[in-house]
Assembly symmetry: C2
């Protein structure tokens, strides 16, 4: 079941994904905060994918990609290169299907992430951090194992899985006016667009990006794909660039992409910890940062925010005494 | 409606409290974590009062105490001395009833806590930190305002309000074998005991205390009230000592009180952040710390844990590189 580089799922495939993965992922809660509504000047609804299995929405796409394979396709296991949430998600999905997972990871990846992947029984292959080394490592693993490669975002089944979060969200929070979704490689954003507009054509869907990794904003402005060369942001889940597939979806569906700097991201992240009492990673806070920086766009509206994940190093939270004072003035 | 120093609420009064406060407090969720079940060797259920209004269970007792007053009793407002969660809870309850709140607070109380109290429209009176100065300050406020004093824990209506958390918990998580509750002044613990045994006589209910503030454990062992002289623990919500009222309840109901040191509390707190992706204060982590230190007592059982609150300074989380390495070995 090969797919073309521009294939994208339809709403029906997102519905099928939701059914397929239901036994393995959480129906995450939607949370609210009066304090944050007051600060933002709108009605906020937070879809808490930080409370998802493996601590991120990636569990959805990985499970859909793994469980849609035929027994024959799955027989040799699955493989990917990733230092982040997709690695853990694919390892868990493979474990749940009872097949092998082969993960190519940079040697410099955090110990806790390696432990999560190996804890699910996946085989880790070390490489250096460059994209070239990762792809080379993955090619060697596939040569050796014949494992099926599951890309972290450039895959219609992965996109369909990520879209299932929005199916749930629009059931849980009625009459939303807007949705805001963080944009990295565009897998979550594409699934959100297809599910969101499939269910509600007048929904405004915004992308949220760090200024230090704003390839999607620049690509949409230019009308052609402009990958990031050396992205730099605390939102480490959003460093990747769009693919032709995800670019096509976002260009068709997004109202616009709004960008914020790392200081605004850290401020929003801290607000979520303080006011909502939940742990989010910087990438998940980008959407709230965008809302707080563009209050005029959202005033009085019902705004849905997808909190994408909660995997953050608790030893290096991105605030300090100095930053605290500066945000207290806002 | 004065009350005797040993009056305690019955189950019916806790049910009445639950109805009375329902419009003003959250029915908080019960969360689970497979990772923590695995670490603890039992089935854990977490009642998330860190997600309660004002970030702590205190919202329950304060609302019950304020809304049970007659219009005449409430006419001059309510007052208390507190530097912590009870101050914010009473301020919110008074705001919701439309009456004044007068809070005596040490000048050294954190800016963020003062801001929360004044944000709810309460009047703050400064004092120095000693118990004597607080009580003197409160006496002066009451003399001036004729406000009704609501004690943070030594009050049957406050205890009844706190007990409503357990009514919900036992509906949400069926067939629990054990409940673990942190013990400070004993308000939450007393409400938990009365509600828990009122609904399920064979429930084992344990108190959890920091070794640095173990007056309840020592009092139960001695069979008489032994207040803490100079308690010292990172669990700053548990510094207060039992009253004769709460001592009587705990002596009748608790299976036992288990104590843990601050290192174990910080370790458990970090585990809750990492595995459950929620923010808890040190006092809320004492129960999990107790379970991890006494696995033999809980092996294979269904254990309910009340996460009491989530108000913690994000600038001074109680872990460090050194502590991380030491916990990673466990």
């Amino acid at each position: 079941m090969p797919f073309d580089e521009l294939d994208v799922p339809e709403l029906a495939e997102i519905r099928a994904a939701a059914l397929r993965i239901a036994p393995f992922v959480h129906r995450t809660p939607v949370m609210r905060s009066e304090g944050l509504n007051h600060l933002a000047g709108c009605e906020l609804f937070f879809k808490c994918e930080n409370l998802q299995k493996v601590g991120a929405f990636k569990a959805r796409g990985a499970h859909n990609a793994v469980f849609r394979l035929s027994d024959e396709q799955a027989a040799c296991g699955v493989a990917t290169h990733s230092s982040g949430n997709h690695a853990a998600a694919l390892a868990l999905a493979a474990k749940n299907r009872g097949i092998s997972a082969f993960i190519v990871m940079p040697s410099a990846a955090p110990v806790v992430k390696r432990a999560a992947v190996s804890g699910y029984g996946a085989e880790i292959t070390d490489c250096v951090s460059t994209l070239e080394a990762r792809e080379q490592g993955l090619a060697e693993v596939v040569e050796r194992t014949s494992a099926y490669v599951v890309h972290p975002y450039d895959d219609p089944w992965v996109i369909a899985g990520q879209g299932s979060a929005t199916l749930e969200f629009l059931e849980q929070a009625e009459d939303l006016d807007d949705l805001i979704v963080p944009v990295g490689g565009g897998g979550l954003a594409s699934g959100t667009c297809i599910a969101g507009h499939g269910l509600q054509a007048d929904l405004r869907i915004f992308g949220a990006e760090p200024v230090g990794a704003d390839d999607a904003a620049r690509s949409l402005a230019a009308g052609r794909l402009i990958p990031s060369i050396s992205p730099d942001t605390i939102a480490d889940g959003l460093l990747t660039s769009l693919s032709p597939r995800t670019f096509g979806v976002l260009r068709e569906h997004l109202h616009s992409i709004l960008c914020v700097d790392d200081e605004a991201i850290a401020y929003a992240m801290r607000l979520i910890f303080e006011r909502m009492k939940i742990v989010v990673e910087p990438s998940a806070a980008v959407s709230l940062a965008v809302i707080l920086n563009h209050r005029e766009l959202f005033a009085g509206r019902r705004v849905g925010v997808i909190l994408s994940g909660g995997n953050v190093s608790l030893d290096s939270l991105p605030w300090s005494q100095g930053r605290e004072r500066s945000t207290a003035r806002k």
